[in-house]
């Protein structure tokens, strides 16, 4: 990877589970467990995982909306844990989060104009006129007309709200945007428009994205590097699209099979294998490999020993006992 913009080192986020009158700690939920990766300048990294895998918590921990239990988040060479509040505010300017639920992430009683001006206000950027001009520019960037400035979020459709959320994230000209499933609740036709918008903006401003999705076909359109998250851990990392050509972990294959494919269904008429079950709860993770209860290739060792993330080649890392067979 090129010069790294964001460096995550052994990041952990645990939640204590308390119960009873005295809030006695009865367990620990390891929601993000020992995660390390880098994002270079201008790079787009895709993060995939089912609901319950810990994607949102990971993003919130990176954005320091939650204090990490352990580990480092280094942004532009600066360890966020060592930063003062003032320095953090500056860094937050360069790192923006687009929250998952775009329906509810816009304040219902603020107009779009107020929503877009808010980040500028907080960081004290520009005079009154400049803020107004900036808000108009931002709307233009996301291909909305300026008469939307006076509207309220409830007057917008899902796709339009998502555009406003993107415009708000762009307001401070960040270098990195953490996108938490920005297209998963949209119609397919709108999803295509928003994905294209993300790509255009990325090229225009040289942005870096950490792009979360639940569908590999969606990530295919936007990023070459894919991280696969399962129960708070990476189980496969593939750079430069290698995951699409040569997926090694059975779980990654699940994702490739599960993406509805017109080609497979119409032209080839294949029956698609289904992987049953859900992500297990982090309160009571299975022993050994976390995926073994759902895995069709599990053997004895999978139930006992947890596989480590190992290097296959320069571009490919995988955590599976059966990878060398």
């Amino acid at each position: 990877m090129e010069q790294s913009l964001l460096k995550i080192q052994e990041l952990k986020k645990y939640f204590p589970i308390r119960k009873g009158l005295f809030k006695k700690q009865i367990g620990i939920a390891k929601v993000v467990d020992d995660i390390s990766f880098n994002i270079g300048k201008g790079e787009v990294v895709g993060l995939i995982g089912e609901s319950g895998a810990g994607k949102s918590i990971l993003l919130q921990t990176i954005a320091l909306l939650r204090q990490p239990t352990e580990g480092k988040v280094v942004f532009n060479g600066q360890d966020l844990a060592d930063c003062s509040k003032k320095e953090l505010k500056k860094i937050r300017k360069q790192m923006q989060l687009i929250p998952q639920d775009h329906q509810n992430s816009l304040h219902p009683r603020m107009t779009i104009r107020e929503i877009l001006k808010e980040p500028l206000k907080i960081h004290g950027i520009g005079s009154k006129d400049e803020k107004e001009r900036k808000a108009r520019e931002l709307l233009e960037l996301v291909e909305l007309e300026s008469n939307y400035l006076n509207r309220f979020p409830h007057q917008l459709s899902g796709g339009q709200k998502q555009r406003v959320a993107i415009a708000r994230a762009l307001a401070l000209r960040p270098e990195l945007i953490l996108c938490d499933e920005p297209v998963s609740a949209l119609d397919v036709s709108i999803q295509a428009q928003i994905l294209n918008l993300f790509m255009d903006l990325q090229k225009q401003f040289g942005l870096s994205y950490l792009f979360v999705a639940q569908d590999l076909a969606v990530l295919r359109q936007i990023s070459y590097h894919i991280l696969v998250l399962y129960l708070g851990k990476f189980i496969e990392i593939g750079l430069d699209g290698i995951i699409y050509e040569n997926p090694l972990h059975p779980y990654t294959k699940t994702f490739l099979d599960a993406s509805p494919s017109i080609k497979k269904n119409i032209y080839e008429g294949e029956r698609i294998p289904i992987t049953w079950g859900d992500v297990p709860t982090p309160l009571d993770p299975p022993a050994g490999c976390a995926f073994h209860p759902r895995c069709n290739q599990a053997i004895e060792i999978c139930q006992k020993v947890e596989p480590k993330l190992e290097k296959v080649n320069e571009k490919h890392f995988v955590a599976c006992h059966r990878v060398n067979e």
Binding site: E50, S51, G52, S157, G158, G159, Q160, S184, A185, D187, V188, S189, I190, Q191, A192, Q193, L195, N196, M199, Q214, D215, L216, A217, V218, R220, Q221, I222, S223, Y224, Y244, T254, F255, L256, D257, A258, S259, P260, S261, I262, K263, N265, I266, Y267, I272, I274, T275, W276, D278
Partner: protein, 337 residues
């Protein structure tokens, strides 16, 4: 598509559901839709939000909420018109002969009632079995869908499970009374792809093993490709194209169908490339254009499209398309990469 074939389980003819708004305007949510459904078929209704898909599904059960009203058409279920039936007769059909799976699984079940009790209530209302038999039947149904511990599910509350799991339970509830038709209203939209594939394969099993007919409502042509046998494409409350799945996918005729198929992201794509998008957004239903409803977003638009509404033309025995200038388009080049 008037087709008086005796074997049709459901025949919807020229259905019109309009909403009469307070300010005197009329919103034509569904405007002249016809389709038919045979035993063991799966009809996919595709369209963007606001195209009238959900109103169509509600109209079938004659439970459109005010200010909506079914103003015209016939819905024949096994030859009987649901629109002229009394409420009492309708209640016998709803949930037992025709059942509905909702879009949002987390809000479809009562959070304060045990899951088992909600199943129990449904079967009790639609059968004359005694309580022990009902409980047995409920457990049997849950088990038949591959759940390992039906007793545990019976005693649990909806909040004990994830949305994906609840959606699978909803399917069990929908088939509890052995319905002949299941209407699934965007059953997978709020779920991830892995859970989606589980739900779709369950629905497919219902169809192939039990012969249940399914009406699948979705905005995703990828989903349609997986489960449907025939497809109706809706836009602005009207039918744009209708026909068997395979034909429609291989040679779509209507520009809107083509647009929807092309905007599906492909898992097989080799390089990062821009997706095709249909320009603009769905029309405002209150003042629809006088010509073709899709004209303002269509790249093949001609003069006639702006002034004259295209009729639904029969292309061959099974295919219908409402376009003045049907397009010759082969998806093979787009999809086989």
């Amino acid at each position: 598509m008037p087709n008086n074939d005796q074997k049709n389980l459901l025949d919807v003819k020229n259905l019109k559901t309009h909403f009469f708004l307070n300010n005197g305007q009329i919103l034509r949510a569904v405007d002249g839709i016809s389709f038919s459904l045979k035993k063991g078929e799966c009809l996919g209704i595709v369209g963007e939000s606001g195209s009238g898909k959900s109103v169509t599904s509600r109209s079938i059960l004659n439970c459109v909420e005010s200010p909506g009203k079914i103003v015209d058409g016939e819905i024949l279920y096994e030859g009987r018109n649901l629109l002229t039936m009394s409420e009492k007769e309708l209640r016998k059909i709803r949930g037992s002969d025709i059942s509905l799976i909702f879009q949002n699984p987390t809000t479809a079940l009562d959070p304060l009632q045990k899951i088992g009790d909600q199943f129990f209530e449904t079967l009790k209302a639609h059968s004359s079995y005694n309580n022990t038999v009902i409980k047995e039947k409920v457990l049997e149904t849950i088990k038949s869908l591959g759940f390992e511990k039906p007793e545990v599910i019976y005693e649990s509350y909806p909040c004990d499970f994830s949305p994906g799991y609840i959606q699978r339970i909803m399917i069990a509830l929908a088939i509890l009374c052995k319905p002949k038709i299941v209407i699934a209203d965007e059953p997978t939209t709020t779920l991830g792809v892995t859970i989606q594939s589980q739900i779709l394969s369950m629905l497919d099993r219902l169809r192939t093993e039990l012969g249940t007919s399914i009406i699948m409502i979705t905005h995703d042509f990828g989903v349609i490709a997986q489960v449907s046998t025939k497809v109706m494409v809706m836009y602005g409350g009207q039918c744009m194209e209708y026909g068997p799945k395979k034909d429609l996918f291989l040679e779509p005729k209507h520009p809107y169908t083509i647009g929807l198929i092309r905007s599906v992201p492909l898992i097989e794509a080799r390089t990062i490339k821009k997706l095709y998008t249909i320009p603009g957004s769905p029309p405002e239903m209150i003042n629809l254009p006088s010509g073709c409803v899709f004209a303002s977003r269509c790249e093949y638009v001609g003069k006639k499209c702006l002034t004259e509404k295209p009729p639904l033309k029969k292309l061959n025995e099974e295919r219908y398309c409402s376009c003045h200038y049907p397009v010759e388009f082969n998806t093979r080049d787009e999809i086989i990469i």
